[in-house]
């Protein structure tokens, strides 16, 4: 047990003024002194690239690591639908307060008021920033920006660039970053993977990384370390995350003392293309924006054998419209996912292996015409056709929920600093803003808020007192020890020479977690997972087969290291789910539900952030609780009816 004090450092004062007051109260670094500070950033997605570009613009020296060949490949690029902002351009009643409230409510009252309010405030600046960089958001004919609506909202506040919003936002941040690289303010280390964090006197002072081309182990040191390394959805093996997305950077920091918060808050996205066979390597998301015009239904009769267009309207069950009339097909993700799962569970699933529900554009095509639908969703529908071989203009699409996003992550305070001094965590890698469920089009908002606006304003408070101090030399024994440990671990995996590939263990882990800790969880299923994961982990360390050597480009070595970390992390995720004896947002415990099957929260015992402290291999991590205090919103039962 340690003496960790979980101080969220939320500024005093009225909610609306907290961020402004805080920006005034932090220490600053004067422009001429900024070049004396070095910041190491890991990850080049929306959060990492925007932070690196902005810190570079301000005059700091930034070292940016990404395991991709180019910063532009980060998985933010795959976000399709859009980004929220409280601009209220459509004049439909939106405001900072409403975006704040929708986000808190959408997160099922498990996020911090102050963080979420700041996010809503900053959202408007993000759109301005992106437009000034040349992000080609959709426009009306008069040249004004266009909006659409997303789940969990009754206003249109989502800005979009066809179905490629994430791509365009990431390219905007990447281009700003490229400019700073050209100017020499940011030093880019591509194909470089962080494998450990280095601490000295209780502070994060740098990290150890592997050059993925040569296999060489190098250290990087700075006045502060920033992780913007994304989410851990691939712990489920099949998810909509990119193949390389992993928990390693966050997990390495966790094992050095950073707390992992709410890992059981994982989001299952309702509209993905159902798996077709056992070789499937990942699942593909179909943007939530499709729910603006697509209607979700299943046949009323579980024995139905006709093809969808032959089933008359009276024999279809538009179950979301029926159950949630005011939000209809735009019910939040967790609610829509569970509703779909239940239809499939009672045998009403559609498709060759009855593992999906229909998402139907027929009515919208009749109302608006196919060209309008093509204009709005063309690239998504084309992607669907490519993957399934079916034409969504003629046949309803088949969709099913899949793991998509993780709300949990490393614990951070209001400054986005973890409990480890000098370690900042941005974007999906932290736990901060989405509570137990993220609303659509809010991930891009948070990543860019953290990187463009929050970190650059808060990091000065930590840097300023270090003026005149050089970063710890990477020749320091503390770095040499960490390098040796990383080399040993990598060599150890290669030396096992077992019989199964790293992917085999990843797939097995994914099966355990999806089955026992997926859309619905119970004490029994979670206990089962807690029994199975350590056995699998043991098998991995005795039986993994990693071919080739560690001193060259070796994707098996990369993969094995990531799977090894998932095998540890997965257990903590399940433990968190076991201890949270309530249902909220994406965390649905079957023991805790209302009569009509909705999530039943327990605010008396669980209105807190569960932050886990690593206690060494073989020991149960220690749970720390940060109480969530609601001064401005009333904790209500979510209703989307």
């Amino acid at each position: 047990m340690s003496t960790i004090n979980l101080d969220s450092k939320i500024p005093a004062g009225p909610l609306e003024d907290k961020w402004d007051n805080h920006k005034f109260s932090v220490k600053l670094v004067n422009p001429a002194n900024r070049r004396k500070f070095r910041v190491v950033i890991v990850g080049s997605g929306l959060a990492g690239a925007s932070a690196a570009a902005t810190l570079g613009e301000l005059g700091y020296h930034v070292q940016l690591l990404t395991f991709h060949d180019s910063p532009r490949r980060a998985h933010s690029i795959a976000a399709q639908g859009g980004i929220n902002a409280a601009k209220n351009y459509p004049n439909d009643g939106d405001s900072v307060k409403r975006l704040f409230y929708d986000t808190i409510k959408g997160g099922d009252f498990r996020s911090r008021e102050a963080n979420v309010h700041r996010l809503a405030q900053v959202s408007v600046n993000i759109i301005d920033q992106c437009v000034s960089q040349g992000v080609p958001f959709a426009r009306e004919y008069a040249g004004l920006l266009d909006n659409r609506s997303f789940g969990g909202a009754q206003v249109s506040r989502t800005f979009y660039a066809r179905g490629q919003t994430g791509q365009q936002l990431l390219l905007g941040a990447y281009q700003a970053l490229a400019r700073q690289i050209h100017l020499g303010n940011v030093e880019l280390h591509n194909r470089t993977e962080m494998l450990d964090m280095v601490m000295k006197d209780g502070r994060a002072v740098g990290l150890v990384a592997r050059d993925l081309i040569t296999g060489a182990i190098h250290s990087y040191s700075g006045h502060a370390v920033v992780l913007a390394t994304g989410g851990y959805g691939n712990v489920f093996y099949l998810s909509t995350n990119a193949m390389a997305s992993n928990v390693t950077a966050a997990w390495r920091a966790h094992k050095r003392g950073a707390l992992m918060a709410n890992p059981c808050f994982t989001q299952i996205h309702p509209t993905c293309i159902p798996a077709s066979d056992e070789f499937q390597s990942k699942l593909t998301l179909m943007s939530e924006s499709l729910r603006n015009d697509g209607r979700i239904w299943v046949p009323q009769n579980a024995e139905e054998t006709r093809s969808p267009e032959q089933i008359p309207d009276s024999e279809r069950d538009y179950f979301l419209e029926r159950m949630y009339p005011s939000f209809g097909n735009l019910a939040p993700r967790d609610i829509a996912s569970r509703a779909s799962k239940r239809q499939v569970d009672v045998g009403k699933g559609v498709g060759p292996i009855k593992n999906g529900v229909y998402l139907d554009f027929d009515e919208a095509i009749n109302r608006l015409g196919a060209p309008v639908i093509e204009e709005r969703y063309g690239n998504l529908l084309q992607m669907y056709e490519r993957i399934t071989g079916e034409d969504p203009y003629k046949m309803p699409m088949r969709i099913y929920p899949a793991v998509h996003y993780t709300m949990g992550g490393l614990w951070v305070d209001y400054n986005l600093m973890s409990n480890v001094e000098g370690l900042y965590v941005l974007g999906e890698a932290n736990f901060s803003d989405h509570g137990a469920n993220r609303l659509g089009a809010s991930a891009l908002m948070q990543g860019l808020s953290d990187g463009y606006f929050v970190l650059p304003a808060t990091i000065t408070d930590y840097l300023a007192p270090q003026l005149g101090e050089a970063p710890i030399s990477t020749d320091d024994p503390i770095f040499k020890q960490a390098e040796a440990a990383v080399r040993d671990r990598t060599n150890q995996m290669v030396a096992i020479k077992g019989t199964h590939s790293p992917d085999h263990f990843h797939r097995e882990l994914g099966k355990i977690i999806w089955e026992h800790c997926g859309m619905e969880r119970s004490a029994e299923s979670l206990d089962q997972a807690l029994a199975e994961i350590p056995v699998l982990r043991e098998q991995f360390w005795n039986d993994v087969r990693v071919l080739g050597d560690t001193e060259s480009f070796n994707q098996s070595v990369e993969k094995a290291g990531r799977v090894a970390d998932f095998l540890e992390f997965g257990e903590e995720l399940v433990l968190d789910a076991r201890r949270r004896e309530e249902s909220c947002g994406g965390h649905f415990r079957v023991e805790y539900q209302t009569e009509d099957g909705e999530a039943l929260r327990n605010d008396d015992d669980f209105a807190h952030v569960a932050a886990w402290e690593w206690e060494g291999e073989g020991n149960e991590p220690t749970l720390h609780r940060e109480p969530l205090v609601y001064e401005n919103v009333h904790l209500a039962t979510r209703s989307y009816k």
């Binding site: 532009r72 998985h75 795959a78 791509q167 081309i213 193949m243 990942k282 080739g548 060259s552």
Partner: protein, 254 residues
Amino acid sequence: MKLTLKIWRQDGPTAKGRFETYEMPAVVPDMSFLEMIDVLNERLIAEEAEPIAFDHDCREGICGSCSMMINGIPHGPERGTATCQLHMRKFKDGQHITVEPWRARSFPIIKDLAVDRSPLDRIIEAGGYISAPTGAARDANEILIPKEAADAAMDAAACIGCGACVAACPNGAAQLFTAAKYSHLSLLPQGQPERWTRAIGMVDEMERWFGSCTNFGECETACPKEISIDFIALLNRDYIKAQFKNRRLSGQKS
């Protein structure tokens, strides 16, 4: 489906490469091309042979990582489709398929099918941006952009930076990549102040690394986002104009 794969194997950047042939007795038509390679790699590991190295990540056709020459065509036979989105139902039972890395001198091979495409980043760094430091922006709706202009910019901005255009080009030119990014920015009002320095910066950097464009048009055919070579015309025109443009007058409407 039964297929025969002939795949380029190369142990490292300086090693001598060779083709290896693999029989694939049971390919499922619904598999993607990369899932077929996954299956082959699992088999190779089981046989204690090193798996095939290849770049891939999102598998949704947007990150631009995947990069395979399939029967001599970048990203294979289906138009407008990246390798990761290509499905085996597009091939015939019994077919022989040759798989190679991107063919371009500017993209040296790292291992097997993985190549180094970082020269593309250098072109962006040399001017493929609009200088807009964080915090300096005015309200987004103060910049009116006619829908047609925004749509044209978006058509160009759809580039995923995979490098298929370079691999397809007999000259190894990166003209389509450069033109797409150049046009995205230069078609927008926000991109006007730096338009002429951008043209020179990006083209000169491109010329340092890549061959020259002679209008073969192979790039457009290979592009997984079907980006039009019309953008190359815009880039070429602007590059010439930029040579004698009096920049002190660039605040005026032309």
